[in-house]
Chain length 309, copies 2
């Protein structure tokens, strides 16, 4: 396929571009000028969208560009709505008919989750409770309207938590790995600050996530929504324990109220049956995923220690 | 109450301002400069919002300003999203805490409606299928996010079809009344062009609609959604027949494919139990509503005939 990836400089974007190149797809990575992407694309600038589309002439657009960090979205709702909702609408309006688009939404749109600890299915009502989730739910509606009224071939990917090497350390698992790596090399006292460890979440390695996006780009049905998730709830505590074992260090775990979100939902995981029906399957076991995250954190710590010497 | 009404120059806005004045509430009508409102307010201009709020210092804001005509929204989705979604977000961000806001959404957010001819209830999933509906569903999410993260006291009114004297003749019932009035005074041959007459819809007189908004402004629960509707499905054909009887003219009814919407839903009506539980009740019987619509259409036709003479 010929693919255009927006947000190619972001966490999942980088992995997606790499994965498509490995498959020998033609891919243009689009992002902000500073990200070193193939073309510059700012979703708030229609001309830049048009130019990127003219350069890439894609069969499929993977639309990952967004304000993705939840607390920042809550602090700056207007900018988040502008980028995540209107940016998506602007991209859709510039798309030629026949171009497929995979829009990356978020499981946050489900809000408080399913009753009775059940897996979240795509047909549940959307009940976003903060601006990031609201922006993604809104952009889903924008996609569906474009599908129904203009025939735009939108496929919606509702992604749950992704993890993987290189993730921003504002996210929990990346933060744990970084802290443990610093402890292991003596750069931090043997104490780790954590948020709510009892929460159960659905973690999927970013390499399985981008594989799912490609599956949706190839075989997803336009106008349909697909959860992108492992389908298995895991306690955050369990992941931390696995990381501690891998680090091989003794640490004191300290709960930090600053890291607790106010309305934590105890159990939140998805049903991935629709995605699996397209032939996708997660490839990377959680243990292996955490191993590579920890190894990357050690490498990054060594690099930064070297740099500061 | 001290009220600020946005979109005060619009169809429902005018009725709402009049109704609040009749109740001796203090009310500031805000709208575009051309509408002859008390203050100028453009939801796409933050400064104008702030100024209007400073002038009105309202207890309750009734937010009616929006792009409301569905086919125009479909033609200009970007402008619709800008005004209806970001305009709402901008207004919310300017609101002082403690100010209540009634956001007027639309039953269009339900999309294809309920299965099995049932009345639509507020807990159903939102499935908008065109840009106007998408913009209203999105703005609802924006309101709920502002409620949950910033404590904004948002009450959502999901309005179904409103009818009443003075409505824009791009809407079906207003168009019927206008055509019949023109026929009655000899300004049009005795033939009336109509869309899908078999569709069943939920019609509520605009005076009952604004009464519902006031009820929600006074007693609606923040963070809750309320259908504003009659609760009774009526065939469009039935309303046309009642108007023809009132006009007392013999007419040929001709179906015009141009007036048929592509994805007409056969039966679409709401459950108004939540609203009635607040003490609201529709006051104006359908027959009386149609009588006043027809009388106003006759008066308007006479005026325009006079003007063109």
């Amino acid at each position: 396929m010929r693919a255009l990836v927006t947000g190619a400089g972001g966490f999942a974007g980088k992995y997606l571009v790499r994965h498509l190149r490995e498959r020998s797809d033609e891919v243009i990575g689009a992002g902000r000028a500073a990200d070193g992407c193939d073309v510059v694309l700012d979703v708030n600038d229609y001309d830049s969208i048009q130019k990127a589309l003219e350069t890439a002439r894609p069969d499929v657009v993977f639309h990952l560009a967004a304000q993705t960090f939840l607390p920042e979205a809550t602090q700056h709702p207007m900018e988040t709505y502008e980028t995540n909702i209107l940016g998506t609408a602007r991209l859709l309006s510039a798309l030629k008919s026949g171009t497929r688009i995979v829009f990356t939404s978020s499981a946050q749109v489900y809000g408080a989750g399913a009753p009775d600890r059940r897996a979240l299915t795509e047909d549940l009502p959307l009940r976003p409770v903060e601006p990031y989730a609201a922006s993604k739910a809104a952009a889903e509606h924008v996609c569906m309207a474009a599908f129904h009224t203009s025939g735009k071939e939108c496929i919606i990917a509702r992604a749950f938590n992704h993890i993987g090497p290189g993730q921003d350390t504002r996210f929990a698992i990346a933060s744990f790995a970084q802290q443990l790596a610093r402890i292991a090399c003596g750069a931090q006292p043997p104490r780790i600050d954590v948020g709510n460890l009892e929460a159960e979440r659905d973690f999927l390695d970013v390499r399985d996530v981008v594989q799912a996006y490609v599956t949706l780009g190839e075989r997803g049905k336009a106008g349909e929504v697909y959860n992108v998730c492992s389908g298995v709830p895991r306690k955050v505590k369990e992941l931390l324990r696995m990381l501690i074992v891998q680090a091989g260090v003794a640490v004191e775990v300290r709960e930090d109220p600053q890291r607790m979100r106010s309305s934590e939902i105890p159990c939140f995981y998805g049903d991935n049956g629709k995605l699996r029906a397209l032939g996708w399957k997660a490839q990377i076991p959680l243990e292996q995923s955490l191993r590579s995250i920890y190894d990357a954190a050690v490498a990054a710590t060594a690099t930064s220690a070297g740099a500061s010497r």
